[in-house]
Structures are given as structure tokens and as C-alpha cells.
Symmetry: C2
Subunit: 418 residues, 2 copies
């Protein structure tokens, strides 16, 4: 379990150990720091309380408890990074609903940014992500996806282990049905027909590849650099009797070769990085048949921004969701034409709520096998992701495209709504 | 009739007068020029024939006839500009289907560009458009739209004079029904509700504003800098008994003020120019209510490109259709979130075919009132536009957006397909 080790090493590193002077009253300077921290969060609608009971902000049922002196100093110095670590260690706690706290924080940061309320808001903003060269990409992905399939199986949908945004065309759908609906929505956009060949870039545990082969009668070649996932997916294909129609290839998207009728990528672009979009566009251009369709499903942004530093370092190394404008580097240098963009932001919030319920249901097990810090870190990550989608900090784009000369296009999108 | 004058002056200017040496055999050098011209158009699938019968290219039922020596020199020097003028004057003629000729030309130019077949392809490429300052914009728009309402009434739909892409959800729809379908499609995307206030930027002859007020019970404020159109639209509103619910304002979009529940612009962005997109985004940001929706309907490109020089100079001064990436300058600097992009390219080709049929049906009348050159110029423009949309040189984007914090979003787009 490489990540449990990683978690323990990083989160309890020297810099984040409680200082020796944990007890005792907060000094006047520390109370000033606290007010400065709140000044970056205008109208946040919660209070922050120090170890000695000093507080700032509004008492509204949500309270942030900073348990020791060193935690205050750390979070003031680099809140975007250290809040997550300190929360994971229990040195910062949140009383009241965690998602509500994070939603208010995002909203207050946005308001603070617009109003330029404090130079401190910059501290919450984001960092330069890691290298995404072919070798680095493999390390990045291993750190996240090779956590162990059993960990994700605890809280993802049971049918196809989709670790991407589901689609809830009807309110109250179960997660499993919503993940099937997402896969069918993508397949309809791509107009898959029996006998076609599909290339999938970044295939997770293979659930979508198997769904396409089983339900649409297509041949699927799916690339992934996560060894754990490829092994798991290949095994699943064999057991499902689809081994002859689905092949999983442990390799980087940059090495994709051959010709396909449809090119699909669900939840990979977040890891690719804007500096590689032209290269990915070239790969698609090399592979896609003249009348083929392509679809990229990705977390996105309303404007170019880096990932939150803590998530980028602790959860998703190398991650950087693009703005739509940044995504155009995939298409504009090539002969591609964007046909349809759909933003499914609130569907991701709903997906994450399902994951959170399941995760909290299994948190004792996570704690027992991976430790309390890890369990708290992932709870924070899921809660923060819900808040990011409900407050519009993050988007979910599905972008359908074809070659510019392809006139075999449906007149409307009615076929997506059967 | 300012444009008839314009046409006559510009198109018969000294530079384009037939030279004195019209008769006589083409020289070896002229025949070499002809081959150079064809080299920029690999596999064009037609031939070009000079005044003395010399020809180059493939004999396939489509033949381009260059009637005099000076026309050859002009078209070689600046084909993107002079082809149109020489065609309008009848000094270049096309035997066979004009749209087919233009489709093959666009395809060949694209192939030539990709293959870098000849330095000459650059001559076909496009020019820097004119100024689009507030004053210049008014001149630009007057040159195009103030041609006279009677001219457009000859070939646009009879019900609402929509000079923008229609929507053909069913094959074979009449133009009038398809224009209604387009307006309803936009209104459904905007989720218009009775009593709302709509701002329209660039309202043409007011047909859409009247449709929204009549069919959706909204109050519409519509801006336009074309005096002829505003007069016509105001008169129509009064006659339709909608004068209290629709107001037409003769002013630039940069001067729009007030608050609206929906902001819509159909066919204006082409004239705005990328250098003004941030300013237009600021106008929308100033006007749109917190839970409002906005929609921009515009001709677009797969990548940033200028307009064809002849169209920009003779037909649409200042026009420059944006790529999706360029359009993001409207949204990314502001708190907007793109919700839905639909590309209706082939619907514009179909719209133009309807316009062409009606235009050719009325061409004798055009010729009688505005002269043969004008009649031929507009025939070329309509044919070239059909070819641009069928060959994927031009796109038609509808971009729906909202503020990033607006969570009152429909779960699906099913409501667009009743």
C-alpha cells in the first residue's frame, strides 16, 4: 500500500508536527493573524476558534477549530496546502457540515478575489503542478489509482466502478443507474454502431470499455498507464466473456496507434496537462477515421486555473482541469470541428454525494486499513469536490467533435433523449 | 441605394477594366501563370480556360472561363479579392454548378494548404478586416443592412425576415417553419418565462424580438445600429400591437444598460470582432441578472481566421467569425460558465439553399433595380456561403451560458426536444 506510506510520511513531516507550545493563551499577534485569515474570507458565514477559545468571524453553526499554535502558523502561511494536511491530522477540525463549510469558503474566496479584499487570498490559490512527462505521468497515476482497487470498490458504483461523473437524467436515480446513463449518453453522442472500433484513452477499471462492447457490439482498445487498473480490467473482460472484443493496453496515450471509428476519453484529460493538448490532438488526428466521432469528458474550469495545491499534492498529482479555451488546443491546430459541448457540473456534485454516503458508510474500514489521517484526507477531498461543483469552481465538460469535412451529422440531438 | 453606387464604383474601377489587349492568343507566360494558379488547387476537379481556349486542370463538367488578359493577371495577383469582382463583372464565368465549383475550390485550397502545395495558396487567404470602432461599426453595418429592406424581403423568409441560420429539425421543412423552429430552439435554451425581460443585441428587422414577445410573453429591449432596420422593426411592432412590450433602440451594443433575465444575440458577433469580445462580455456582465441565461448565436470557425477578402470588402465589411477559443474571451474574464454549445453548420447550408432558390427566382428584379454586377455578386456570395458551410470552412455556434453561481439549471437538454 504505497499511499498509506506516502500519507504517513508526508502528513506527519516535521513541518506539521504540533509545536511544543500547544497550550497557553493565544498571543495578541496570533489573534491578529486570525483576523487577517478571516479578512481573506469576507462574509464566510462561520467562525474560526483557536485552541484557547479566542475566535473571529460569525457564529452560525459552523465552527473551524484550530487545535494548536503551529497549526495556526501553518495555515496562515499556505492555507491552500496546509489546511488539508492539518485537517487530515485532526489538528484542524470542522464542527457542522463539512460541505457547507467548504462551499462557504469557496464562495468567500471568490468574493474576496473579486473585491480584492485581502492580499491573503492569493495564499489560497493554486500552485504549479508536477511534471506530466511519460515517466512522471506513470508515477502520478500510480500514486492515485494504484491505491488499491479494493479501496475504490468501497464507495464507487458496484456495477462498473466508474470513477467519473455520472448522469442523472431523473432526480433520485441510484448511482449504478446514473453511471449506466452516463455511459449510454456518451455512446449515443458518439453514435456507436455494431462492428465499429473504439479507442479509449484512460479507461479506469475498464467498466466503460466493457459496457460499450456488451451493449453496442463494438470492438474496444483501451489504453491506461495504471498497472493495477489494467490487470483488474483485463481480468474482468475475461470473466465477462468479452476478452475477444476488448483489449486493455498498459501504455501512455502518446503511444496510441491504429485507426478507430470513435475516440473517447472519460476523465483522463484532467491528468494530461495543457502543455500536452496539442500532442493529444495529434494522436487523435492520427487515429480517427474520416467519418469518426470523438468525445472528451473532463473536469473543467471557467477560466485557466491550477488545481488546489493540497489536492494536487496529496490526492491527484499532476491534475489540472482545463478551461474550454484551453481545450481548444486539442482541436484548433487540427482539422476538427466541435459539434456539441455539454456542461454536467451539477451531475458531478450529485455523483460525489453518492460516493460520500458510501464512503462514510465504510470509513471505519478505511480507518482500520489505512489510518485515520488517510480516512480524513479522503473525506475532505470528497467534501471539497462537492463544494467545488456546487459553487461553480469546477465544471464537467463533454465535448463531441468530428473532422471538419464530415457531413454525416445528425440534424438534432434528439437521439440523446430517447 | 448606396450600395448600387458602391458596387458600380468599386467593381468597374480602373484596375479591373478589361485591358486593351483582350483578343489574341495567350502568351507562353500567361499559360504558365494559369498552371501556377491550378497548382495552388490540387485535384480541384475542374478546368480553367483562357480567352483563347488554352486551358489547365481536369475537364469534369465544371469550367472556369477567364474572359480577358487583364482578368488573368488580376486573379493571379489577388484571387481572394479579385475573383469575386471579376465574376461579378462577368469577366470570369463558371460553367456548371457554381456551388460545386466553390466547394471544390475550398476543398482544394484546404488540401493545398495542408500539403503546402504552392506558395500561391496564401493569395487566397484572408485579409485584415476594417475597423470596428463604434463609428466604423455603424458605417460597416449600413453598407450591408441598409441596402434596402425590399432587397432582403425578396429572398428571406416571409414571416420574420431572419437573416440568420434557420433550424431544420425535420428534413424538408419550409424556410418559414425552420426560422420559427430556430427561434423556439433559442427560447427553449434560454428557458424564457412570461414576464421576463430580454435584451437582444443586434436584432435585425426585429422578427425574433416580436416572436419572443408574442409567443413567450416577455418584454424585449433590442439594440441595433442599422437605422433602416430599427425603423422597419419599430413599425412592425406597432402594427402587431406589440409596441408596449418590445422596444427597438438605435444604438451600439457597447451602450446597452439596464438589467435583463436573458441576454441574446443572434448573428451579431460576426460583426463585433475579437478585439471587442472582452468589452461585449463586460456589457453582458453589467446587464445579466444573477440567475439569467445568455445565448450567442454566431457564424464561427474551427480556428482563428479572417474573412475571405472579397466578402469582407464587398459584402460584409468588418465581418470576422470567431473560433470557439476566441469566443471564450467573452466568458473567461467574467463569472460566466458555458453550459451548452451546439454546432448547426449544416443547417446554415440548408438555409442558404432556400435563400438561393428564392434569390434566383427574383434575380431579374435584382438585375433590373441594382444592375447585373450586383446581382452576380450576391449570387456568388450565397453560393460561396453554401460551399463554406458544406465543406466545414464555416461553423454555426449557439453558445448558452449562465453565471458560475447559478444552480437553477435543467438536468438535461430534453426540454429542447418536445
Amino acid at each position: 500500500m504505497p499511499t498509506q506510506r506516502m500519507t504517513t510520511e508526508r502528513m506527519t513531516g516535521r513541518a506539521l508536527q504540533p509545536g511544543s507550545a500547544t497550550a497557553g493563551a493565544a498571543s495578541a499577534f496570533e489573534r491578529w493573524l486570525l483576523r487577517i485569515l478571516m479578512a481573506a474570507l469576507p462574509d464566510a458565514g462561520y467562525s474560526i476558534v483557536l485552541w484557547d477559545g479566542s475566535s473571529a468571524g460569525e457564529d452560525s453553526g459552523v465552527r473551524v477549530l484550530i487545535r494548536d499554535r503551529a497549526a495556526l502558523w501553518q495555515v496562515v502561511r499556505d492555507p491552500a496546502l496546509h489546511f488539508g494536511d492539518l485537517y487530515s491530522l485532526g489538528r484542524i477540525e470542522v464542527e457542522g457540515d463539512l460541505v457547507t463549510f467548504l462551499e462557504r469558503t469557496y464562495a468567500a474566496l471568490e468574493a474576496g478575489r473579486s473585491a480584492n479584499a485581502s492580499p491573503l487570498w492569493r495564499l489560497w490559490s493554486d500552485i504549479t503542478p508536477r511534471s506530466r512527462s511519460i515517466d512522471a505521468a506513470r508515477d502520478n497515476i500510480e500514486q492515485h489509482y494504484d491505491l488499491g482497487n479494493d479501496f475504490y470498490a468501497l464507495w464507487l458504483d458496484r456495477e462498473s466502478m466508474q470513477y467519473t461523473c455520472a448522469y442523472f437524467p431523473e432526480a433520485g436515480m441510484p448511482l449504478e443507474a446514473a453511471q449506466r446513463a452516463k455511459m449510454d449518453h456518451v455512446c449515443r453522442k458518439l453514435r456507436l454502431r455494431r462492428g465499429q472500433r473504439v479507442f479509449e484513452a484512460g479507461c479506469g477499471w475498464g467498466g466503460f470499455a466493457l459496457h460499450m462492447a456488451r451493449e453496442y457490439g463494438v470492438e474496444v482498445h483501451a489504453w491506461n498507464i495504471s498497472r493495477e487498473q489494467v490487470r483488474f480490467a483485463t481480468d474482468r473482460a475475461r470473466k465477462a466473456g468479452l476478452g475477444d472484443r476488448v483489449s486493455f493496453i498498459e501504455d501512455d496515450y502518446r503511444n496510441m496507434r491504429g485507426e478507430c471509428d470513435a475516440f473517447v476519453s472519460v476523465g483522463m484529460l484532467e491528468h494530461v496537462g495543457p502543455e500536452n493538448y496539442r500532442a493529444l490532438g495529434a494522436v487523435i488526428d492520427r487515429c480517427l477515421a474520416p467519418n469518426g466521432f470523438g468525445l472528451i469528458h473532463t473536469i473543467g474550469r471557467n477560466r485557466p486555473e491550477s488545481m488546489n495545491g493540497w489536492i494536487e499534492r496529496r490526492i491527484f498529482p499532476g491534475a489540472q482541469p482545463p478551461s474550454l479555451g484551453e481545450m481548444m488546443a486539442l482541436f484548433e491546430p487540427r482539422s476538427f470541428s466541435v459539434l456539441d459541448v455539454e456542461n454536467l457540473r451539477l451531475h458531478y456534485a450529485e455523483t460525489l454525494r453518492h460516493w460520500m454516503v458510501r464512503y462514510l458508510g465504510a470509513i471505519d474500514q478505511v480507518r482500520a486499513t489505512r489510518g485515520a489521517e488517510f480516512a480524513r484526507a479522503w473525506q475532505l477531498y470528497l467534501a471539497g469536490s462537492i463544494a467545488a461543483f456546487t459553487t461553480g469552481r469546477m465544471q464537467l465538460f463533454q465535448v463531441l467533435f468530428a473532422r471538419d469535412r464530415n457531413n454525416d451529422l445528425p440534424a438534432t440531438r434528439r437521439h440523446l433523449y430517447p
